[in-house]
């Protein structure tokens, strides 16, 4: 075997290991913590809204609306920070580069979906239209923004579907568990959107809460069985 053949073989090995690596980098612990945070968030939301419908956000006080948004923003941010930190730590433990191809594939698969979900959330919470740009143009902020309850109801199913799509795509280059998680989110999101949009608190608790918890426990269990 000459140097060029050896180099080719090493590249082949590297590609296979990168595909399989996604499994060991799967964020089991952050999924458990994130799931618990979402369950707690759903509990607080229910106490705040006194309803299982996120659309009822329109009928609580302005201060509560702000707290509600800040809480969910904090949960989302904490989830992202946890996941990034864990992936970096897991990669370092395996002597992998933090910009490993497998990690980049996962990040590039998830980011566009999450970005679309963020834009749609902003659009539904603050009905952004020509009037809003007019406010900035004229510097007159006394124009009331009128969000609609039925649009706010769409936020959870949309997050479920887009997050599911991102996770499924990231898992395409790896093994089955993330693909199953992604498809489950997608199917649950479709069901929630078409049949139960008024039960957003339940949908969020079952998907981002319970599903993440089960997935995280499964991954942690599998990773503990690893032969070192």
């Amino acid at each position: 075997m000459n140097a060029s053949e050896a180099q080719t073989r090493m590249l082949e090995i590297q590609r296979i290991m990168e595909r399989a690596t996604l499994f060991t980098l799967l964020p089991g612990v952050p999924a458990i913590v994130g799931g618990l945070m979402v369950l707690a968030g759903c509990g607080v939301s229910y106490a705040m809204l006194r309803s299982l419908d996120f659309g009822d956000l329109l009928y609580v006080s302005a201060a509560q609306q702000v707290w509600f948004c800040v809480m969910w923003l904090a949960i989302g941010a904490a989830g992202v920070v946890l996941e990034v930190a864990y992936t970096g730590w897991a990669a370092a433990r395996q002597h992998l580069q933090p910009d490993n191809r497998a990690i980049r594939v996962a990040a590039f698969s998830l980011t566009p979906c999450v970005a679309v979900a963020v834009v749609l959330t902003a659009k539904f919470l603050l009905p952004i239209n020509a009037q809003v740009w007019q406010m900035f143009w004229t510097w007159n902020f006394n124009v009331p923004l009128m969000p609609k309850a039925e649009e706010i109801q769409y936020i959870v199913p949309i997050w479920m579907m887009l997050y599911g799509t991102g996770v499924y795509t990231a898992g395409l280059f790896s093994i089955r568990p993330p693909r199953v998680l992604g498809l489950t989110f997608l199917a649950a999101g479709i069901l929630a959107l078409l049949c139960f949009p008024q039960y957003g608190v339940v949908a969020a608790a079952l998907s981002f809460g319970l599903l993440h918890l089960v997935f995280g426990l499964y991954i942690v269990h599998k990773q503990r069985q690893m032969v070192i």
């Binding site: 140097a3 050896a6 296979i16 290991m17 595909r19 399989a20 395996q94 093994i175």
Partner: protein, 101 residues
């Protein structure tokens, strides 16, 4: 001067391309099911079975056969012996590349 690397310096069990792929995948995964390995490496049932058996006989992997419901379920994982063989193989490849550079 460095000794030349001879064909017998390569571990014949994992020098074969498919077996090397199986070992490489298992080196970074806790364990993989038969179906996962098959889809990850693009192999047929027969091909994967035959090569996995060779690796099992060499003591490089462990094949665990169970049932999930009524369906048979096969999982494979790398043994410490298999991991050492894989690391030796990678070191030999690195040596060849370094000498050729």
């Amino acid at each position: 001067m460095n000794d030349p690397i001879k064909p017998e310096d390569f571990d014949a069990v994992i020098h074969e391309r498919v077996r090397l792929s199986i070992v490489a995948a298992l080196a970074v995964s806790p364990q993989l099911s038969f179906a996962e390995l098959k889809s990850m490496l693009g192999l047929t049932d027969g091909n994967l079975s035959a090569h996995a058996r060779t690796l099992d006989e060499a003591g490089y992997i462990v094949i665990e056969k169970t049932f999930r419901g009524r369906k048979p379920y096969t999982e494979m994982r790398l043994t410490a012996k298999g991991r050492r063989a894989f690391e030796r193989y990678l070191a030999t490849l690195r040596q060849i590349v370094d000498r050729g550079a």
